[in-house]
Structures are given as structure tokens and as C-alpha cells.
């Protein structure tokens, strides 16, 4: 029972941060039809900015650092949108992949110069550090922070997309961008808002996981692979699908690790292949017209 609880909370926490990153990726794909490989970069920058701003102090300053990281990276996202992505919207997918892949590499070099190649770490702020016991299991308090953040992000996105006119516009852009723009919407401005929001979500995830990981170069590439898996399984453009898919990937990873750690990734990819054989457009996606 204790073992089960530990694994469950750990899985939910992993799935939670993965959901927040992937939600940003799927939002951008849905509204702009761009697969942004530099999305992982925003995640890594979020984490690096936290290590800089929070320093070694582990109190209120950590939370300030999380907010600063999210906002700074949202601005970085806006710059990437205006400088690069804007020119590849509506172009061949291959062009988009190459362009955003280039951004990933360039910003990885920039990060090396800013933060060096060593690993950096941040400790969880007082109050949410340490463990608590439940039914005999020792559980990290900080896992609850990550799970809570994911739930909150999910709720906010749901409210935004289903109850605000800005959210309706974003969904309208998913349905038919050309109709939206001939109706009078400045699509470029909407894209800018969506792309910056996507970057903000990636950075928020990167920032919030810093107490549990070592922040180092390479984070950008490893997270983009798993978030792409999540987005593809969930159905490109679907936020609900992303939530389910993050859980599936999290569970597959945990179960795989429990059965045989050396085969854990194989296990995960089998889950992906299985879903895609049955529903090539993902769990909550729609078949291409």
C-alpha cells in the first residue's frame, strides 16, 4: 500500500509537469499549426532563470523566481515568434521543423554562455520541502505543489477556452484561421498571444520542477521528445487529450520502471505505438480532413 501510494504520487507529479509543458505545445499547434521544437527551450530557460533569481535562498524568493521565469520566457517566446516563427506559419511542416530546431540549437548555445555547462540546483522552499506520511508512506510534499500547479493550469486553460471570448477566438483559429481573419481578426496578433502563452506554460513547468531535478543543458531536448509524445497521443491541439496522454505516459513510465528499469522507455514507446495504431490522430484529436 505504501509503495503504491509513493508510486502514484510520483507518477501524478511527473504527469503533471509533463501536462503543463505539453499543454503549451498543443495550444500553439492547435491555433497556429506549427510544431514548435523550440518549446523545450522555453522549459529549460524557465528552469535556468529560476536558478538565477532564486539563488540559494529557499523562501518567498523561490516563488518570485517562478513568476519571473514564466514572464521572462513569455517575452522570449514573443521575440521568437516575431523573429522566426511568424515567417513559417502556413509553410511546409519541414520548414517549420527546421526553423524551430534551429532556434532550439541557437538558444541552447546562448544558455551555455549564460549559465555554463554544469548542473545547477535549487532546493524546495521551506513549507513545501521534506515529506509527509500517509498510510505509512513517506511522500514528498513538493509533489503536491507540482500536482496542484498542473490541476490549476488545467482549470485555467479550460475556463479560458470554454468561457471567455478570447478562448473562443483561439478555438476559432483552430477550426478555421482563414475565416477568422477574413472576419476581422488580426491573426498575427492572436498568434503572438498564443505563442507567448505557450512559452509561458513551458517555462512555468520548467520553473516548478527545479527543486526535484538538476538543471543542466540538454533538458530542452529531452523534454521536447516526451512532450511531443504526449501531444501526439492526446491528439494534436487537444488540451483534454494532453491531460490524458500525460497520465498514460507517466503510468507507462512508472510501470515500465517497476517491471524492468532497463526496458522502461521501450515500454513507454509501446504505449505510444499502441495508441497510434488504433487512433492515428490521437485519443482526442480529429482525423485530418
Amino acid at each position: 500500500m505504501a509503495r503504491f501510494l509513493t508510486e502514484t504520487i510520483g507518477t501524478l507529479s511527473d504527469a503533471g509537469s509533463l501536462f503543463v509543458v505539453a499543454a503549451g505545445l498543443t495550444l500553439v499547434f492547435g491555433a497556429m499549426r506549427v510544431i514548435n521544437l523550440a518549446h523545450g527551450t522555453f522549459y529549460m530557460y524557465g528552469a535556468f532563470v529560476v536558478t538565477t533569481v532564486a539563488g540559494t535562498a529557499s523562501g518567498l524568493r523561490f516563488w518570485v523566481a517562478v513568476v519571473v521565469a514564466a514572464l521572462v520566457v513569455a517575452v522570449l517566446g514573443a521575440i521568437v515568434q516575431l523573429g522566426v516563427v511568424r515567417f513559417v506559419v502556413g509553410k511546409e511542416p519541414l520548414t517549420q521543423l527546421v526553423a524551430t530546431f534551429a532556434v532550439l540549437y541557437i538558444l541552447a548555445d546562448v544558455a551555455l554562455h549564460l549559465w555554463g555547462s554544469g548542473a545547477r540546483s535549487v532546493s524546495a522552499p521551506l513549507g513545501v520541502s521534506g515529506t509527509f506520511t500517509l498510510a505509512g508512506a513517506y511522500l514528498p510534499v513538493y509533489d503536491l505543489v507540482i500536482i496542484g500547479t498542473a490541476v490549476l493550469v488545467g482549470l485555467v486553460l479550460w475556463l479560458l477556452l470554454s468561457h471567455t471570448s478570447l478562448g473562443w477566438m483561439i478555438r476559432a483559429a483552430v477550426d478555421d484561421p482563414e475565416l477568422l481573419q477574413s472576419g476581422g481578426v488580426n491573426l498575427r496578433r492572436l498568434h503572438l498571444a498564443v505563442f507567448a502563452t505557450g512559452a509561458l506554460l513551458a517555462a512555468l513547468a520548467g520553473a516548478i520542477v527545479t527543486p526535484q531535478i538538476s538543471v543542466a543543458p540538454g533538458m530542452d531536448q529531452s523534454i521536447i521528445v516526451s512532450s511531443l509524445l504526449v501531444v501526439v497521443i492526446g491528439g494534436l491541439g487537444s488540451v483534454v487529450g494532453t491531460a490524458f496522454a500525460a497520465l498514460i505516459i507517466g503510468i507507462a513510465d512508472t510501470v515500465g520502471t517497476l517491471v524492468d528499469p532497463t526496458w522502461a522507455s521501450t515500454f513507454m514507446y509501446f504505449a505510444v505505438i499502441l495508441v497510434l495504431v488504433v487512433r492515428p490522430w490521437g485519443l482526442f484529436g480529429t482525423p485530418e480532413r
Binding site: 471570448s165 477566438m169 476559432a172 477550426d175 477568422l180 477574413s182 472576419g183 491573426l187
Partner: protein
């Protein structure tokens, strides 16, 4: 609103689709744009609103240059483009579709609001919470027109509005066009179905292979066997109709 298109040349990739098209729509006028499939009617409309950027020529509304401006400007200037087919925001409800349309042109005011549109199309009010993707063809047509009207436009560009509609809905559509024309909206009506265009417009242009082949009254077009054959209407037999409802 007066629309003036002058010597517009548009391309899709390397193919020269519009080869110097000029046309005017006077305030309050209903003008037909006729031509076979592939003649360039849709490209012309898309060039007017900036979805296709003309390589040469100019598009002006009320003397103000619109050529090369981003597409959203045309709508904000009062030029509503209704593309052919089932073009509504299919994942949004009817009410959300109307609200998005209204917010897309926030500065355009006038007598058209959701209430008045529901008055014109009571069916839409009953279905206001229904997801637009699940509406019937006729209902989607109502929503398309409602989405355009709620921005209080001065001119409508209707691209193939009768395409795929059951004959009964085509009749209704005709009544709506008449009603809007009485509201002194200018309308440019692109149609393959010459019968519909003839019934609701006074003047027309015949587009052939990207050039204006003829312009003049609908009677002249209708009476000329040569123009009728250019339109693909068999000489003086039953008028060509849209896909028949079975």
C-alpha cells in the same frame, strides 16, 4: 460602399489566375460575378479581401486603397467575405460563433446585433447553444450570414452561396439576399448557378479564364446564346440548377 477593382493580376504559385480584372460595385447594388468553375471567381474575391495578394492592380473601397492590406482590414472597413461551403467555426456553439464575429470587428456599430439576427433567423436562436459543426447545411448558411451581419458590414462578398444547398433553402437564401439588398447593402454575388444570380442581381460580369469576358445587364447575358454557352447553360433548355435534393 463603392468597390472598385482595377486591372488586378493574381497568381497561385506560377499560374496566372487573374489576368487584369476590373470591376465596380456601386453602393446598394447587387452585382453578379458569373463564370464556370475555375474561371477565377473565388480568386477574385480572395484578392479583394487580401487573402490572395495581387501582383498588380488595385482594390479600393470608397476611394481608399485596400490593395496589399492585411485581410482583417477589409472586414473592419465593412467588407464581409462569405466563402463558399460550410464555413463556420465548427467546434463553437452558434452563440459563440456570433460573439467571435462581433468581437472581431469591435469598432463597427449599427443596428445588427445578436438579437436582431435571432429575429431574422429564429431557428438560430433555438439552436444558439448547439455546436455549429452539427448544424444542417441551411442552418450553417444562416449562421454564415448572421456572422457577417453582426459586424454591420456595408458590402457582402458572397462566394457560391447556393452550392450544395437543397432547392428549398436556395429559395430562402434568395429572400435573404433581397432583404439585405433592401437594407441598402451592396452585394457581389459569385455564382455558377446563373438562375440564382439572374433572379437577384441587376448587373453582372462574366469571368472566363481570369479575364472579364462581358459586363452588362443580366438580361443581355441571359439573351446571348454565346454567353450562355460560355456559362455552360445549355441553349434555352431547363435552367441549370445546383445539386438536386433527392
Amino acid at each position: 460602399m463603392r468597390l472598385e477593382v482595377r486591372d488586378v493580376h493574381s497568381y497561385y504559385g506560377a499560374s496566372h489566375i487573374l489576368q487584369g480584372v476590373s470591376l465596380t460595385v456601386e453602393p446598394g447594388e447587387v452585382v453578379a460575378l458569373l463564370g464556370r468553375n475555375g474561371a477565377g471567381k473565388t480568386t477574385l474575391m480572395r484578392s479583394i479581401v487580401g487573402l490572395v495578394r495581387p501582383r498588380a492592380g488595385s482594390v479600393q473601397i470608397d476611394g481608399v486603397e485596400l490593395t496589399g492590406a492585411p485581410t482583417y482590414r477589409a472586414a473592419r472597413a465593412g467588407l464581409a467575405f462569405l466563402p463558399s461551403g460550410r464555413r463556420v467555426f465548427s467546434s463553437l456553439s452558434v452563440a459563440e460563433n456570433l460573439e467571435v464575429a462581433r468581437r472581431s470587428c469591435p469598432r463597427r456599430t449599427g443596428s445588427w446585433n445578436a438579437e436582431r439576427i435571432y429575429g431574422l433567423f429564429p431557428k438560430l436562436e433555438q439552436l444558439s447553444r448547439r455546436t455549429a459543426g452539427y448544424l444542417s447545411g441551411g442552418e450553417q448558411q444562416m449562421l454564415k450570414i448572421g456572422r457577417a451581419l453582426i459586424t454591420n458590414p456595408e458590402m457582402l462578398l458572397l462566394d457560391e452561396p447556393t452550392e450544395g444547398l437543397a432547392p428549398a433553402v436556395v429559395d430562402e437564401l434568395g429572400e435573404w439576399v433581397e432583404m439585405l439588398s433592401r437594407e441598402s447593402l451592396s452585394i457581389l454575388l459569385a455564382e455558377q448557378s446563373a438562375t440564382f444570380a439572374r433572379a437577384h442581381s441587376t448587373r453582372g460580369y462574366l469571368l472566363e479564364k481570369g479575364r472579364i469576358r462581358f459586363e452588362g445587364s443580366m438580361e443581355r447575358i441571359w439573351d446571348s446564346p454565346e454567353l450562355r454557352s460560355a456559362l455552360g447553360i445549355a441553349a434555352r433548355t431547363a435552367p441549370e440548377a445546383g445539386p438536386a435534393a433527392s
